[in-house]
């Protein structure tokens, strides 16, 4: 075999590994280069796609031949239904068509664009001064109004090099899991994933076991992690400080033996001398969670000022009226009436929420008007699924055109519009104990449902009814019973057990990208 044959075989193997999702990014680039300049190779690449599709369909056929109860539920579900359709009657075939429409993950952009939308503001852009092709060793996992100068790669990752943070704050995660939460102003040089030279500003370092031995090199000496969380700063006059919040660090500086410092100790380095400070100053080193809260707050302000906002609840208490849930939207017309529930903390310690844990806990509200386009957003944390059905947000009467949003015992959203449709979003059930974003986007053509920014159900609407609300409840839902003597009592047969800390309704259709960005901005993952 000559060199060319070997190269050809290597390229053909790269093609097959592309379809097996087994390529490194470097190999992908090599394949891309080869494909770009070689028509025959591109033909081969397309032929391999046909084989890949054939193998996948073959798998679907084999699954479809098995009893339905054994077919695993996956994103490939619609394919399998379609294959059942091929093998069965035309009626079932029709159902197959509906299966992928009904379980669609995304509404087509044509459909989505049918409603009025507004331009989205850029969320915390990184200012990119120069681009480098690869070799990145770190990336920001959260950022708030961050402006960073330095060799940032095209996808926002950081390569070794010099950086300056001129605005904002963020958490930088290195490839070894080390997280540095930093704030402006800051200057540093990323040497490699185990070393960073810090020349100005402050940061908080969290070092997992994989990153032990991580070093921060300051003008006054080096801080070596021994399994810990610590803060460090370099002032304008080049003095340095280290504040150990947990675990242990070792200080190494010229003219002095290495010294270990443990939890709740702070040391200042001045001209080679170590001065132990009275106390650590944890509050002066921002945490990732604090950045998350600020980022959410900025997004929340934009949402409540959105001209299409029908109502916006951030669940902050009203000291003058504990039973009133203030509508924070610019229109501020639809306050809710708190009928049960306890004020607790929400996604962040600084944020409040309502905890529904008792019979009938709910918020009552009344929304006038009718709407062609609706977006509903909510953040909830379900603690338990006690009942066959729990309600997040229902209209009281469920008249034609009214929407209901419930949760089944297994965490699946059960939704519907009266005289329109009823459907289950079974693709992604809600989990208990986890803050979750739910979103509903209704247009005259479709209704889309999202969990944590991901589309989980699309319903093609045939009813075209305008959406109406009237009297509604967030939380417990029930029926009014009238006794023989005429006394009316409400029996709640659907409850909500958990926390809710944001709820809003808009009279426009948000795009999938908007929903996804709002999820990112509101997600409280991280400390």
């Amino acid at each position: 075999m000559n060199v060319n044959e070997t190269e050809d075989e290597r390229l053909l193997l790269l093609i097959e590994r592309f379809y097996l999702n087994d390529l490194t990014s470097e190999e992908l680039r090599q394949l891309e280069l080869a494909l770009d300049g070689n028509r025959k190779l591109r033909d081969r690449f397309r032929a391999a796609a046909v084989i890949d599709a054939g193998l996948r369909f073959r798998t679907s056929e084999e699954v479809a031949e098995k009893p339905l109860v054994q077919a695993s539920v996956s994103r490939q579900g619609w394919f399998r239904w379609a294959m059942i359709g091929l093998a069965a009657t035309f009626l079932i075939g029709l159902l197959s068509l509906r299966s992928f429409i009904g379980s669609s993950n995304h509404v087509s952009p044509q459909v989505a664009s049918s409603g009025p939308t507004t331009d989205e503001p850029e969320v915390s852009p990184i200012a990119v001064d120069s681009l480098r092709p690869d070799g990145s060793i770190a990336e920001f996992v959260i950022r708030n109004e961050l402006v960073l100068k330095g060799p940032v790669t095209a996808d926002g990752s950081l390569s070794p090099g010099d950086y300056e943070v001129t605005k904002g704050e963020g958490t930088l995660r290195l490839n070894n899991g080390v997280e540095l939460t930093l704030q402006s102003p800051a200057k540093f040089r990323l040497v490699d994933k185990q070393r960073i030279e810090w020349t100005l500003g402050r940061a908080r370092a969290y070092v997992p076991p994989e990153g032990h031995g991580f070093r921060v090199i300051t003008p006054q000496g080096e801080i070596e992690d021994l399994g810990t969380e610590f803060g460090f700063l370099v002032a304008e006059d080049q003095t340095s400080e280290v504040h150990v919040f947990a675990g242990e660090v070792r200080l190494l500086n010229d003219g002095q033996p290495p010294q270990q410092y443990q939890e709740d100790t702070a040391v200042k380095l001045v001209s080679g001398e170590r001065r132990v400070l009275d106390a650590t100053a944890a509050a002066s080193f921002v945490t990732r969670g604090q950045i998350g809260f600020k980022r959410w707050l900025a997004t929340s302000r934009a949402l409540r000022n959105d001209p299409s906002a029908i109502l916006y609840y951030d669940f902050s208490p009203d000291p003058s009226d504990p039973e009133r849930l203030m509508d924070q939207s610019a229109n501020s017309l639809i306050d809710g009436q708190i009928a049960g529930g306890i004020v607790v903390s929400g996604r962040w310690p600084q944020k409040s929420a309502l905890l529904f844990d008792d019979r009938g806990d709910r918020i009552e509200l009344s929304i006038p008007g009718q709407y062609d386009f609706i977006t509903l957003l909510a953040w909830i944390q379900v603690t338990r699924f006690d009942l066959p059905m729990q309600t997040l947000f229902n209209t009281v009467d469920y008249d034609p055109g009214e929407h209901h949003l419930n949760l089944l015992r297994d965490g699946v959203m059960r939704v519907g519009i009266r005289e329109g449709y009823t459907s289950n979003a079974s693709k992604r059930p809600l989990l208990t104990g986890r803050w979750t974003q739910l979103a509903v986007v209704i247009t005259p053509d479709t209704a889309r449902y999202y969990v944590d920014g991901e589309s989980v159900l699309t319903v093609v609407r045939e009813d075209k009814l305008p959406i109406v609300f009237g009297d509604c409840s967030i939380g417990a839902f029930g029926k009014t019973k009238v006794s023989k003597s005429g006394v009316k009592t409400v029996g709640f047969h659907r409850e909500l057990r958990g926390r809710i800390d944001e709820f809003a309704i808009f009279s426009r259709a948000f795009t999938s990208d908007e929903i996804s960005r709002l999820f990112e901005a509101g997600n409280n993952s991280g400390w």
Partner: protein
């Protein structure tokens, strides 16, 4: 606030449809699932018309080609599923603009291409993908080469070739599509690493490709 004063909420509109029908319940709104339908016509037929009939027939005939076309431009099957779903809705809505059924494949390729580019732009930051220039090139060439007969022939050759492989090789070839962990499970059962098995899988796919090309050549000569 009095609940259920008029209708009592969901309880009066819930259906007892079997699971398969419930999946499509949103399309059957308005008929009584427990009672007989008007004039003895199946309820599903009441809500689906000739438009759907035509679309379904065309789509099912070509879905494998459409999926393959999308796969050549996208990083994985998850992305393909998303794009084909979006594209199928566009096709369904625009079907009236397609004059001749014979042109469906080429027409639908254009829609899949557009949806692919939209998907790419939305996900470009998150996913490692082929460059847009290369994708455009691949799409244009696929649209030019679009030949239903050739695709059908290739599909049949694939089936015949796959059947000619030993059962263990067939199992390995199909494993990546069964579930994410299938190759790893097979590797574990065989006492080898997933990496080693992926290498074997790559070589097996090359053999499969050679077999298909060989059958196509023979078939071409025979014709």
């Amino acid at each position: 606030m009095l609940f259920g004063a008029k209708s009592g909420g969901y309880s009066q509109c819930k259906t007892n449809l079997p699971p398969l029908f419930q999946k499509f319940q949103h399309l059957t709104a308005g008929f009584d699932p427990n009672g007989s339908s008007h004039h003895g016509i199946t309820p599903i037929a009441l809500v689906l018309g000739m438009h759907d009939d035509r679309f379904l027939s065309l789509f099912l005939r070509h879905e494998r080609s459409l999926a393959a076309f999308a796969r050549s431009m996208l990083p994985d099957w998850e992305a393909v599923d998303d794009v084909i779903q979006d594209a199928s809705i566009v096709m369904w809505r625009k079907l009236d603009s397609l004059e001749r059924d014979e042109d469906f494949l080429k027409w639908s390729f254009v829609i899949v291409r557009m949806e692919t580019l939209k998907y790419r732009r939305g996900k470009a930051r998150d996913r490692v993908m082929l460059s847009e220039g290369l994708v455009e090139k691949l799409a244009s060439e696929a649209e030019d080469d679009c030949d239903e007969r050739a695709m059908t022939f290739r599909s049949k050759a694939l089936s015949a070739c796959l059947d000619s492989f030993p059962a263990s090789d067939q199992q390995l070839l199909l494993a990546p599509y069964v579930s994410r962990g299938s190759v790893t499970e097979l590797a574990s059962a065989a006492g080898t690493s997933a990496n080693a098995l992926y290498k074997k899988l790559g070589r097996l796919r090359l053999r499969l490709h050679q077999c298909i090309e060989s059958r196509i050549r023979v078939g071409g000569e025979g014709a």
